[in-house]
């Protein structure tokens, strides 16, 4: 065997474990899920093995179901609201924390703990803090005088989404800040110095230097943010169980309910595939961005 061929074999040997794992444990279920969504598998047909292909029936049923359409809308409202808030505040904080001052490092790190915490605990904490009488949010808002009576955050279907978005932003802002800070610190100080010597003011420097140089960081953060937020599950599952009246139900939780509360496995897999298709479109842009600069 030639040395090159031996080298190649070694390479494949190292790559094989992880790649085969992913093919088997993710690839196979993914294909299985696609097939499932075109069949009529529920708890009865699965046990008896009498399921059959039904074409697009599951998808047609989903898109005629007003609850599913509400869930689809909720998912987009949740994602877009979170992205807008997380990105704007995350960027402002990144601008602050990318500068050198006494507490910059430690505080930037501390704030990130929110991102590492189990989402189920965060959701439970949110449930308590947004409580009607025992909740600290109502108490604080009444102390400042912004509201006169306690708001029924999680009890009312018109406010539950706001509470869920707020909790998610508590996690998302630090994450956006982290990624944007690393983009900002990558910009050479010389560029700013020569710009200020040329008489550029703070705003000009931001719009003509920072933003253009940050373009790929910003795009990556927005797309990653979309992918992470759009697939939310733990937060709603623990904090609101999708309620009240499906007002915080999103694709992730709805697919779960279909499969594991109603045992309509095929319907659940069809709903999950709708979720995946939305992710995939954004994901393709993200892939183009990350692989373009490689090699």
């Amino acid at each position: 065997m030639s040395i090159a061929a031996k080298k190649r074999l070694e390479g494949y040997g190292f790559i094989a474990p992880g790649f085969l794992y992913v093919l088997l444990v993710l690839g196979y279920p993914l294909v299985y899920n696609i097939i499932l969504s075109f069949k009529n598998v529920d708890v009865k047909t699965f046990a008896s093995g009498t399921s059959k292909f039904v074409g697009f029936a599951n998808y047609i049923e989903l898109f005629h179901d007003p609850t599913f359409l509400l869930v689809l809308k909720n998912t987009f409202v949740f994602t877009i609201a979170c992205l807008a808030i997380q990105f704007t505040l995350g960027f402002l904080l990144a601008l602050l924390f990318s500068q050198k001052f006494t507490f910059a490092g430690p505080i930037r790190g501390l704030v990130l703990v929110a991102y590492m915490m189990p989402m189920s605990v965060t959701a439970m904490l949110g449930k308590n803090m947004f409580g009607v009488t025992e909740g600290v949010i109502n108490d604080l808002l009444m102390k400042i005088g912004l509201i006169n009576a306690p708001v029924e955050w999680l009890v009312s279907s018109s406010t539950a989404m706001i509470a869920v978005i707020a909790v998610n932003c508590w996690v998302g802002i630090p994450f956006n800040m982290l990624l944007l800070t690393s983009g900002l610190t990558g910009i050479s100080q010389d560029v700013y110095e020569s710009a200020s010597l040329d008489g550029a003011n703070k705003f000009q420097r931001f719009f003509y230097i920072t933003l253009p140089l940050m373009k790929s960081s910003i795009l990556a953060v927005l797309m990653l943010g979309f992918i992470y937020t759009f697939k939310a599950f733990d937060l709603m599952f623990i904090m609101t169980s999708g309620g009240p009246l499906n007002s915080t139900d999103v694709l992730g939780t709805y697919a779960y309910t279909l499969s594991f509360t109603k045992y309509e496995f095929s319907q659940g897999s069809a709903a999950a595939l709708v979720l995946f298709c939305c992710l995939f479109v954004i994901g393709l842009f993200y892939l183009r961005l990350t692989t373009k600069e490689d090699d």
Partner: protein
Amino acid sequence: MDGKIETSLKTKGGRSNFGKCVIAVLVAIIFLFPLYWLLSMSFKTDGESFGKLVTYYPHSFTLEPWIKNFSDKDFLLSLKNSILIAILSMTISIGFGVPTAYGMGRYKVPGSKSFLLTFLVTQMLPASLMLTPMYLIFNKVGLLGTYLGPALAISSGSIPFIVITLRPYFKGIPVSLDDAARIDGCGVIRSFLSIMIPAIKTGVITVIVISFLNGWNDLAYSMTFNVKPEMRPLTANIFKFQSKYGTKWNCIMAYGAILVIPVVLLFVFLQKYIVGGLTAGAVKE
């Protein structure tokens, strides 16, 4: 002239340093308040945590909620499950992920671009998409109600992360290190284990911590694949304890605090590894 500019910049820097510190501390207070709230609630008495009056610190400090959790058999069992699932999924993830990252970082093989693409795509797959098919497959092969079921599923998310994070680290090791290992008579596997892995210690610590936390934080997989509460980790038993404790928020918060403590400890001690790893995995520099 040069000196003048420098001093004027310095005094300006001094003044704005104070201003920035104040803003940063305010930001920290806002973001850490929920964590403070979690802890403060966990030291309140039943009456105070349920009371109509919201108190901002425990007026009568008690360890009762913590003791109640730690003397509960169901709690200790869930804690054991959390630790087992986290360690098992971490071991699987590292065992499969690190060699792959090494192969992709240091060998030029045909098809490596599509391998990388596969890992990038799989990183996007949401748990809710995998739950139904995995549940039905695990049901067939007898993996429901085991620790291995959720651990396998969690690792399928950690492995792509490990590959994407560590690949650039391995790529950055100078070729001279390979040659030195060869001359010393190291075999391929020995040079990988005892030279290459220690050379990128920082990256390896990052992926160990993150893949442990992926297991520790998991809710969806453990909850779905382990129907019996005795097999479930702390995260998946939150509902059970919520109905057990009723409105005793102090006990629920102590429960949550126990779940958060390992995360905070790991984070405080290994902050620079985690922060570096997260940024490397997400954004190309």
